[in-house]
């Protein structure tokens, strides 16, 4: 590809680095409702950042403010150290990829990608040969060069999304922003595109922020994940950090927290029924609390200490897994077993013993 993009930083030196995006107490209200409520976030140069949250959490509004499509009521936004709170989108030099692609359907794939190179504001003006070279390089990168003469209507969803990405990259943005980039695609294409986006990001090292409501997507793709809820950031960290040490009940629940059970904290362990379950996070010192037990942290056990009795309600083989719905004192407990290692699969109605390996516990 063109040599204009900086190579990816081999080792991120957190002290020396210029923040690519620096957000200070950014707030955006629609009517009386704060869609984004005082968010602070720093995104390092070359980082691949995910904004993860349920719908209405403010993640898309935050992305649109970074892109200059919405403007903050309060707070500041710096892009590469330059004030960008209220500047126009083109002045920020960001590339934006929309959820529904927003391709110009009356233009060919080539003309779509060339659009940003032909606009009057573009300085210096590129010669036609240079535009052609650049567009074909980008189409080569997104593996769509043979389809340059097609119209968007003639492409599949995944191909359209790649055109949208090539179009956004054509103007050599300092920051690439993607709004639910894979939301409208089917599972297989989504998986391919994820891998492919990560490769492109690695190759170019352009700072990238993407919005998603799919926790698996965020954890798989991002260098760091910011989890949003009701316009605020609940936690920022690497995928491993946020998954292993969820800072709040919301984060734990959103990242596949599993079953929620009432418990009693006693001597550094959670007491559920008669079973003592090890706590992995910084839990409240004592008293009533809520325990989250992930489905794969539950195993069947015939006997021994700290066993809960539960009745099997539903057994569902899903690929290599066996998913169980269990009834424990009227509460539904979800468990996932390995199909290969389960000698005899439990049947509905059967009474089984459960061992809970660990729990995340939060004040109730």
């Amino acid at each position: 590809m063109a040599p204009n993009w900086p190579p990816p930083p081999a080792a991120i030196d957190r002290k020396r680095i210029i923040m690519s995006i620096s957000i200070k107490s950014l707030t955006k209200r629609f009517g009386g409702f704060a869609a984004v409520d005082g968010i602070d976030l720093d995104i390092a140069n070359g980082e691949l950042m995910a904004l993860l949250g349920p719908s209405g959490s403010g993640k898309t509004t935050l992305l649109r403010m970074i892109g200059g499509l919405d403007f903050a009521d309060e707070g500041t936004l710096l892009i590469e150290g330059e004030e960008a709170t209220v500047t126009a989108p083109h002045a920020r030099r960001v590339g934006f990829v929309f959820q529904h692609y927003a391709l110009f359907r009356h233009m060919t794939v080539f003309e779509n990608v060339a659009f940003g190179l032909r606009v009057a504001r573009r300085k210096p003006k590129l010669a036609e040969a240079a535009i052609k070279q650049k567009v074909m390089d980008l189409l080569e990168l997104v593996q769509l060069a043979p389809l340059a003469g097609r119209y968007p209507n003639q492409l599949s969803g995944g191909q359209r999304q790649r055109v949208a990405l090539a179009r956004a990259l054509a103007t050599e943005p300092r920051v690439l922003l993607l709004d639910e980039p894979f939301g409208a695609l089917d599972a297989k294409v989504r998986k391919e595109l994820r891998r492919w986006l990560r490769d492109i990001h690695k190759g170019m090292g352009v700072t990238t922020v993407f919005v998603t409501h799919d926790q698996e997507e965020a954890l798989e793709l991002a260098d760091r994940v910011a989890i949003l809820n009701k316009g605020r950031i609940e936690q920022v960290g690497t995928p491993a950090e946020v998954y292993d040490r969820p800072a709040s009940a919301f984060v734990c629940d959103f990242l596949g927290g599993g079953t929620r059970l009432d418990c009693q904290v006693e001597g550094g362990a959670a007491l559920i029924g008669n079973a003592r379950v090890p706590i992995v996070n910084a839990a409240p010192a004592g008293g009533k609390a809520i325990a989250y037990i992930r489905a794969h942290d539950i195993e069947l056990a015939d006997g021994g200490p700290d066993i809960l009795q539960a009745r099997v309600r539903l057994v569902q083989p899903v690929g290599p897994q066996l998913r169980l719905d269990l009834d424990f004192n009227g509460q539904v407990v979800e468990a996932v077993l390995d199909r290969d290692s389960t000698q005899t699969a439990p049947v509905p109605g059967q009474l089984v013993g459960l061992r809970l390996r660990q729990a995340n516990v939060y004040a109730g």
Partner: protein, 284 residues
């Protein structure tokens, strides 16, 4: 016997789950035949009395040629004016919220509802040299009523709803993300309109233009009041047909009618082809 023999006219693979093909096809053919085809056939057969040379002689009379030229040029200008200002009205109705928007929206349809003769009388009263508007235009040397300009005014009035109502839904469906995408890529507002929005609404605009044009070519009621109806100057073709009928020259009237029909058909065909070209991106 099974249902298969009943449907055997249609090969199996062509059968569709969408119901009513046979029924609607039958209705369509019957309806078009009695409403459109038979009257048009009668019209085309009528000038046969004249023979081909008689037909040519009837439609190439200087008065007929002048009327045809006047009808089509005024209709063209009126449709063109409506294309520009109708687009502006549709844009405003779709893009902005303002008090009285519903009223404005309703006013657009008034030319549909009003008997066109009433519109003609009202416009004549306004634009006559002593009328509300005419009295200010007259000293400037601009004469509207009783001239071809008056015809354009009347045809513009009756053609307004067509462009607005065809462009409006397309503008409503236009994704604002397209404009945001263009803005992110550095396009100015004007560039965004010319290169992103206009090509998408162009086919609808041409449909509206064609409908306004077709309507204007056939318009009679409003025009005869404001036109002055001077032969060779401001006499429109439909009026000339009526005059021929009043003189019991049925074949001559039908000959002019056929000439109008042919010209209209060719114009609509050309517009249709242009429209298809402007939508070439929509096909598969």
């Amino acid at each position: 016997m099974t249902g298969r023999s009943f449907f055997s006219v249609f090969p199996r693979r062509d059968r569709s789950i969408i119901p009513g093909f046979g029924l609607t096809l039958g209705i369509t053919l019957f309806y078009l035949t009695i409403i459109v085809l038979i009257p048009l056939a009668a019209l085309a057969l009528r000038p046969m009395d004249l023979g081909f040379s008689g037909f040519v002689a009837a439609v190439t009379q200087p008065r007929v040629l002048a009327a045809l030229k006047l009808s089509f040029t005024t209709a063209f200008f009126a449709a063109a004016i409506n294309a520009v200002f109708g687009l502006a009205v549709a844009w405003m109705l779709v893009r902005y919220e303002f008090p009285g928007k519903k009223v404005v929206d309703a006013i657009v349809d008034l030319p549909f509802a009003l008997p066109t003769a009433v519109a003609g009388i009202a416009l004549t009263a306004l634009y006559a040299p002593n009328g509300w508007i005419g009295q200010y235009l007259d000293p400037l040397g601009i004469k509207v009523a009783f001239t071809p300009l008056g015809i354009v005014v009347a045809l513009t009035f009756i053609g307004l709803p067509f462009v607005v109502r065809t462009v409006q839904p397309v503008l409503e469906e236009l994704d604002t993300e397209l404009e945001e995408a263009a803005a992110c890529l550095g396009a100015t507002r004007l560039e965004t309109f010319i290169r992103v929005i206009f090509p998408v609404i162009m086919p609808a605009l041409m449909t509206g233009f064609a409908m306004a044009l077709a309507r204007a070519v056939g318009e009679y009621g409003s025009v005869i009041f404001i036109a002055g109806n001077m032969p060779m100057v401001s006499e429109i073709t439909p009026l000339l047909i009526v005059i021929k009928l009043e003189q019991f020259d049925y074949a001559g009237a039908a000959a002019i009618g056929v000439a109008m029909l042919l010209i209209s058909f060719i114009m609509l065909l050309v517009i249709n082809l242009l429209q298809r070209w402007s939508r070439r991106w929509a096909g598969m």
